[in-house]
């Protein structure tokens, strides 16, 4: 089971991602609505395997938050949640240390596939067949 933090300023996205991760058998141990809040939580909760990170957020965007989190915790894997039109920002986020990105609309299938790529031990049978 993965321990996950969901970072997004949109409440509905946080709720949806939490539901997807929970139904896939993983645990959402923290949620954050800004990059600043995400950094605060990663300092409190060391044991996080995966973070989903919105690109554009108030106070501190997802790119700066990714950069700072990667310096604080080299083991955590960060996945950017983004839409087309933000390719340049995603590129910066990947340079900052993010491992992957998911394009909106977010579905449980996309979340499951991304987990399978980053954590092969949690890949679904269907994903394993395609890897």
């Amino acid at each position: 089971m993965l321990k996950v933090m969901v970072v997004d300023d949109a409440l509905v996205i946080r709720k949806n991602l939490t539901r997807f991760f929970t139904s896939l058998g993983h645990e959402v141990v923290a949620e954050a609505g800004t990059g600043v809040e995400a950094i605060s939580k990663i300092q409190e909760i060391k044991d996080i395997d995966l973070i989903t990170m919105d690109v554009t957020m108030p106070e501190m965007d997802g790119i700066e938050a990714t950069k700072q989190i990667c310096e604080l915790n080299k083991d955590v894997k960060i996945v950017m949640i983004t839409s087309h039109g933000q390719e340049e920002l995603v590129s910066k986020a990947l340079k900052a240390g993010a491992k992957n990105f998911v394009l909106k609309p977010i579905t449980q299938e996309k979340v499951e596939q991304t987990i399978g790529v980053l954590f092969p031990e949690f890949a679904s049978k269907e994903d394993e067949d395609t890897l």
Partner: protein, 172 residues
């Protein structure tokens, strides 16, 4: 309908993606057999309107205006039927409106001027605005998508030159 290839390049994919998003992702029937794009002098804004700007080669303002009943249906589908707490209802409704506009525009936007990127701003909600009116060289394009749960109004506001058929963008 006063369209040219640039109008279509910009707004038609957004209209088409909105239709498929409603039908396929939200399982909401679209009642219009065809969705027209019209050029107007004034556009009435709905109470629940989201605005997103584009940047880069093409700078326009796009709006998504939702009927309240449609928002309630979209929230229901987005939340997979989960009951929304009353104290979270307004925030959830606003974030659903913004996320849908952001996702649809992001999914459908293409650059009629070539391969370079068009960026989009974060969505913002417009409160208490009633309408916007064409001024000087601006162009307003509107499209109405009808559903069993009310309408979704799309509009694009930009400089008229953007929509001039013979403009040679490569020289810009």
């Amino acid at each position: 309908m006063k369209n040219n290839k640039f109008t279509h390049s910009l707004l038609e994919p957004i209209v088409n993606r909105t239709v498929t998003f409603l039908q396929e992702d939200m399982i909401i029937d679209v009642l219009n057999k065809t969705v027209d794009i019209d050029e107007v002098n004034d556009a009435i804004l709905k109470d629940n309107t989201v605005m997103i700007g584009t940047g880069g080669d093409i700078q326009v303002i796009l709006t998504f205006g939702y009927d309240q009943r449609l928002i309630e249906k979209l929230v229901y589908v987005f939340m997979d039927g989960e009951i929304v707490d009353e104290d979270e209802k307004e925030e959830i409704e606003q974030s659903v409106c913004c996320e849908i506009a952001n996702t649809i525009i992001g999914n459908s936007i293409k650059n009629p001027m070539g391969e370079s990127l068009i960026s989009i701003t974060p969505p913002i909600l417009i409160k208490a605005a009633k309408s916007f009116t064409k001024y000087k060289n601006s162009t307003i394009l509107v499209s109405v998508i009808k559903t069993n749960f009310g309408d979704l109004h799309l509009s694009a506001v930009g400089p008229k030159e953007l929509f001039v058929d013979k403009l040679d963008f490569k020289e810009l």
